[in-house]
């Protein structure tokens, strides 16, 4: 862990993630205004002492909306990734451990699913399930599953030929022991790294779905939805779209930087440089 913080990438990433986490947890409590309250007198005003980040088309306080919107935006990304990683890991580990035709069938199917762009895949599933934040989260999780399965599989395969696994086989350890005690603890590193980086993609896809009207629904303060709702007014008051847009980028950046630093910490070849 100290290795992570020492690196500037890791330091900035960890810093951003702490801010994001605090916003998610404390945001609704420290918001100065009710995020849904209309203030018709101050519609589309710029940043001021009363409204730090200005107000939107209904006079709602953007800063308060941003603080309360962190939770649907970020937790969406984390939740979707966690589900996708879990499902993908189970499939990937199964394929790697089973080998033979089971592995071949799973891998060919994954190849097919991976040929469909993530966003398109997500859109198809969202359309089946119907719009809404829970449905969108499930859709992103499903779209992430094939990629994570592949990473989990290759991670397990690379470990399967390590000498400590060979030693365990030569000792006559049971298959369950080898998988639970030897393979999984060592395979988990690359999976966590990939998952962290993917959270940033999930946040971006979630916001995109919100923007397209297929994710979070009004009156949610999800950041992508905030951009979509304010688009009509963007030329007159650019901050109404810029503030949530930049917030999305900062959140994605935090996970990206932290994931990269994690990767370096796990990969001894890169650690030296």
């Amino acid at each position: 862990m100290s290795e992570l913080i020492r690196h500037p990438t890791g330091m900035v990433g960890a810093g951003l993630l702490s801010i994001i986490a605090l916003t998610v947890i404390l945001g609704p409590f420290i918001a100065p205004y009710d995020p849904q309250a209309f203030h018709p007198a101050v519609r589309l005003t710029g940043p001021s002492a009363a409204h730090w980040l200005g107000t939107d088309q209904f006079g709602r306080d953007i800063f308060s909306r941003l603080l309360t919107g962190a939770s649907p935006t970020i937790l969406f990304g984390v939740g979707a990734t966690a589900l996708g990683v879990l499902a993908g890991s189970i499939i990937g580990v199964t394929a790697a451990v089973a080998g033979g035709w089971v592995d071949s069938v799973i891998m060919r199917t994954l190849d097919g699913l991976l040929a469909v762009p993530d966003l398109l895949f997500t859109l198809l599933i969202v359309t089946i399930l119907g719009g809404g934040i829970g449905e969108a989260m499930l859709a992103v999780a499903v779209a992430f599953t094939p990629g994570m399965a592949r990473i989990a599989r290759s991670s397990v395969l690379s470990i399967r030929t390590r000498e400590y696994i060979l030693a365990a086989i030569a000792r006559d350890e049971s298959r369950a022991y080898i998988i639970v005690q030897e393979v999984i603890p060592n395979a988990i590193g690359p999976i966590i790294v990939e998952a962290t980086i993917r959270v940033s993609f999930a946040i971006m896809i979630g916001a995109t779905l919100g923007f397209l009207g297929l994710g979070a629904q009004p009156p949610s303060t999800e950041w992508g939805l905030m951009v979509a709702e304010a688009r009509q007014y963007m030329y007159r008051s650019p901050w109404v779209v810029a503030v949530p847009g930049i917030a999305i980028a900062v959140a994605a950046l935090g996970f990206n930087l932290f994931g990269d630093a994690l990767r370096d910490a796990f990969d001894p070849r890169r650690r030296r440089r």
Partner: protein, 553 residues
């Protein structure tokens, strides 16, 4: 430290005086070289010997003026024929590298650019330093390839590195180093990455070219035996300090520093046997009858998309026996099948034929049962890879106790302490994780794990080859001690012929999957040896005999 004061009018080609170097790290500077002083007179070869991390390669980088950004040169002078190298500009250094000092690297597999033709990689130094045209440079380059003994140089010029063998690639690197007739060449472990016989050929080539050109050489190696054969002078470096400097005969016969004495003593010498027991008489403990191992493709309908792989023989019709308490060495070059036999013997590799252990025969990998697996244990080459990094030493060592039911749970801690003591490690290591141990210590843990199963046979697959010389010797001794104490039989697989002659009762030689020779260690030089055995033995330099060290060994 000694300073050589030889009479002679001529300037030394390389003179290093009182040179100190450190590397800056986040936790403070780490000293790499301390007050190093040495010189090489024209036409001589100085062997620089040290273990990994001793600073021997740092010295090479310093001379080549190729230091990383965090290097701190604390003091001293580096002179090439009296010219101060440290005072030169980058431009001057670039003009000098490859023309006046050149370098031959450890691994020709990585030091040649994989996407450029070999010919271009030789020719470019000639274009750069001797201002030849591309065509002249190729002709000259081809001539140099011919001088390094490459049989069809014009053909080799057009090949890419992956189309040449390791030995051929190293010849190309050597040709490049000699191409501009430099005053000095630094050889950085040029044979370490090569097979035994290829290494010998490269050494012979070094000797020939050295005689022909009279080039001055700094020969860096971890192998004292090898240096004693090719160098006139030797410097021994330990933790950045030169602890011994002088002519080869002097240093090997009467090493002054305790470090050098230990190092000389650690070099395996075939005449110094480290076993004194004889194997039990009677029936074989283990018998292999016509064991075949084939590597090939797995049959699978959906694999039609994968390219067809050829069937390769890992081992062909191998038969031999091993008695209780016997140490049988298996030697061979990489790809000879020696590790394949190890894998088949511990049930990691499918095989045909039969393995008889005690009274029971096994006719395939799937027939092997737990009784056999407990009785036959393996120690792998890389201790870094053979211990699960997520388990403590205590957990690793207690695993066989639990798995085979050798001791009740309350006894485990005591037994683990015993095991650690038996491999000369402190008892509190049980709480440590493998990455907190040195390479030699990890290998001891791996050995302890094998002996924890109270086996009747331990298979040692190149267990010393990833370790430093002095550590190698202690690990080998430890193994022999344990073997003698427990009466366990041992299959000792290695490519180190001097080592195997020290500790094996009998030696088997493998080549391309075949067992070609099997003999008692004492008869290694008998006239009826297989020609390949003789070739292998001839390829390995036997170290010069130290005068007094022999007794302490």
């Amino acid at each position: 430290m000694t300073r050589q004061e030889e009479p002679g009018k001529r300037h030394p080609v390389l003179e290093v005086r009182d040179y100190s170097l450190a590397y800056g790290t986040p936790t403070g500077p780490v000293e790499a070289l301390r007050n190093v002083t040495l010189s090489i007179r024209p036409g001589r070869t100085l062997g620089l010997v040290g273990e990994s991390g001793s600073g021997k390669t740092s010295l090479a980088w310093a001379v080549m003026r190729y230091l990383p950004a965090n290097a701190i040169e604390r003091s001293g002078r580096l002179e090439l024929l009296g010219e101060d190298l440290r005072a030169k500009s980058l431009e001057e250094i670039q003009n000098l590298r490859g023309r006046r000092i050149s370098m031959v690297f450890q691994d020709p597999g990585t030091s040649l650019n994989p996407v450029l033709r070999l010919g271009d990689q030789v020719a470019e130094v000639l274009v750069r330093h001797r201002s030849l045209t591309a065509k002249e440079a190729r002709q000259e380059g081809e001539a140099w390839l011919a001088r390094t003994g490459i049989s069809r140089p014009s053909d080799m010029m057009n090949r890419y590195p992956h189309e040449a063998s390791g030995g051929e690639k190293q010849r190309v690197v050597i040709a490049t180093a000699f191409a501009c007739n430099p005053e000095m060449i630094i050889f950085d472990e040029p044979t370490t990455a090569l097979d035994i016989i290829t290494a010998r050929q490269i050494l012979d080539l070094f000797d020939d070219l050295h005689d022909e050109t009279g080039v001055t050489a700094l020969y860096i190696s971890h192998d004292l035996g090898l240096v004693s054969r090719i160098a006139q002078d030797v410097a021994v470096i330990n933790q950045g300090e030169i602890v011994e400097l002088g002519s080869c005969e002097h240093v090997f016969a009467r090493p002054r520093s305790s470090y050098a004495r230990n190092l000389v003593a650690a070099v395996p010498h075939p005449d110094h046997r480290i076993i004194n027991t004889e194997p039990d008489d009677g029936d074989d403990l283990l018998r292999l009858d016509g064991v075949n191992v084939r590597y090939g493709r797995g049959k699978n309908v959906l694999d039609f998309l994968q390219p067809r792989r050829e069937m390769v023989h890992g081992a062909r019709d191998v038969s031999f026996g091993l008695r209780a308490g016997e140490i049988l060495g298996i030697v061979g070059e990489s790809g000879s099948g020696k590790s394949t036999i190890a894998k088949a013997l511990v049930g990691l590799q499918d095989f045909e034929g039969s393995i008889t252990f005690g009274t029971k025969s096994y006719s395939g990998r799937r027939r092997i049962d737990r009784t056999y697996r407990r009785a036959v244990q393996i120690v792998f080459q890389h201790p870094d890879a053979s211990l699960n990094p997520r388990q403590t030493v205590g957990k690793i060592l207690s695993r066989p106790l639990k798995l085979y039911g050798l001791a009740p749970r309350p006894e485990w801690a005591r037994r683990v302490r015993e095991l650690l003591r038996s491999v000369l490690l402190p008892e509190d290591y049980a709480k440590r994780f493998p990455h907190e141990l040195s390479g030699g210590e990890k290998q001891r843990v791996a050995i302890a794990r094998a002996f924890a199963a109270e086996p009747q046979l331990v298979i040692c697959d190149e267990i010393t080859s990833s370790l430093d010389v002095s550590v190698q010797a202690s690990v080998a001794r430890l193994l022999v001690e344990l073997q003698q104490k427990t009466g366990t039989a041992c299959l000792f697989i290695t490519h180190d012929l001097n080592l195997v002659r020290q500790l094996a009762h009998r030696i088997a030689v493998m080549q391309n999957g075949d067992l070609v020779d099997l003999f008692c260690s004492s008869e290694a030089r008998a006239p009826d040896r297989h020609p390949y055995t003789t070739q292998l033995l001839d390829a390995v330099p036997v170290p010069v005999e130290p005068e007094e060290a022999a007794v302490t060994a």
